[in-house]
Amino acid sequence: MAKPDIWTRLQNVDARAIYAIIGLVIASFVLQPVVLPLPVSPGTRMLYDFINKLPPDSVVVMSEEHTVGFWPECGPGAVAVWQHAFQRPLKLIFVAFVQDGALMEHTALTTLIDKGNKKYGDDYVQIGFVAGEETGVAAFAKDFTMSKSDYYGTPLETLPLLKKARSAKDVALWVVTGSIGNYWVLRQVNAAYGVPQATVTMAAQEAIYLPYLSSGQFVGMLNSVRGGAEYENLLKRPGFGNQMMGALTVGTGAIFCLVIFGNIVYWMGRRRRK
């Protein structure tokens, strides 16, 4: 059997070589972050402006709807939006319809967010996990106190904020972080109560939710790490999102180079075989 030519061997290169290239390139930019100019996307700007224009004491619900493995992708955007909401005179309710969500919210609220002079119970509340997925969203939207107690075991009826904000009818904005929860909130809150919705979503899901942004059902959308970095820049508080943008850029660049090289190899091999 004839020995395969160079083009065939390059087409069938060991996957570990590709893993090594990608790993080295990304690691170098994670260890030595490079800040690149980043224009703000329309969806990010829309959410920033919407939160800025909310009247004082408006109630905003933040729901964390993804497993913890997606935190590096969605976390920077979520933290930036929550930070912005804490900087404004708004009333915030944190809830999760995915188990991991409550723990991520707790971690962010206790370690990452500067809460200023906001007081727990009066200005913000963490409900915790509500089971039932879409049914849970519908039940919660109807009555915020259906869970009976908050994440810390305090009876919800005793919290001043939940005496004012009783249901989705009292909400001015609902921000979903993640993916699947967007549909639950779209159907059970946005459509049913007309509550404006925004999302911080994964890059792979952004294309799916663009129609909702252009239809006006979403009043803003942050696309993955990039959206988070953009929002951090709008807040003038560069953080984890900006740190990761350099690595994301070179990672994309490396994949681009690999695809181009793969196509050159493919066409050279094909020409040779003819």
Binding site: I18, A203, L210, P211, I255
Partner: protein
């Protein structure tokens, strides 16, 4: 038996579905009270399902250990040990306790994030091997994908200032138009499926 296994579930499904639909379109107080109660039952049942699924998981992996399934039993044993450990910490101290949070943030989070991150490596390898301009359709897909990818990263704009213009046009016009069609089609399909389920014309009943 068929009456118990088939007719009663169909009747209950239809009744509950009709109440929920009535509550959405005709917000009458008695219907709202019943619908709210049903929703609360569903939430409680869902929470209980998490509890029962834990036992199902124990049963599944316990069987693997008892049978000494080759290449599996020790992984199942490790899974059970870790699960029981987390449950014990959560029940004994609560999920807000620093030990539980430490395990969540430093073990579960890091492992989950690492597993997700591996996808990037697989995508790179798969893109190198499979993303080829073999024909016109493949070439269009390849070019569109690369333009959109470079729209999402700052270096794209540095390479060619019009990357965002072209990329956003692909996303906002071509992609949105296509996804609107898909979403409307899926929504109509969901309505049809829902009606079939409510009247017992879909599968899943004994």
């Amino acid at each position: 038996m068929s009456f118990v296994k088939r007719q009663i579930p169909i009747f209950l499904t239809g009744l509950v579905g009709a109440i929920m639909l009535a509550e959405y379109y005709f917000p009458l107080v008695p219907v709202q009270i019943v619908a709210t109660e049903i929703q609360r039952w569903a939430v409680i049942l869902s929470a209980f399902a998490i509890f029962t699924s834990t036992f199902q998981l124990l049963r599944f992996h316990g069987k693997k250990i008892v049978e000494r399934a080759a290449g599996q039993w020790y992984i199942s044993g490790w899974m059970i040990a870790i699960m029981l450990f987390m449950v014990a910490i959560g029940v004994a101290y609560s999920v807000r306790h620093p030990i539980y949070m430490w395990l969540f943030n430093n073990v579960y989070y890091t492992l989950s994030a690492s597993t997700n991150s591996l996808m990037g490596f697989f995508v790179a390898s798969a893109a190198y091997r499979a993303f080829k301009a073999r024909n016109i359709e493949g070439s269009v897909l390849l070019i569109s994908a690369l333009i959109v990818a470079f729209t999402n990263v700052p270096i794209g704009m540095l390479l060619w200032s019009d990357f965002p213009t072209v990329g956003n046009w692909i996303r906002n016009v071509v992609n949105t138009a296509a996804f609107r069609g898909i979403l409307i089609g899926a929504a109509i399909g969901t309505v049809v499926l829902g009606i079939k389920r409510l009247i017992g014309r879909s599968g899943g009943y004994a």
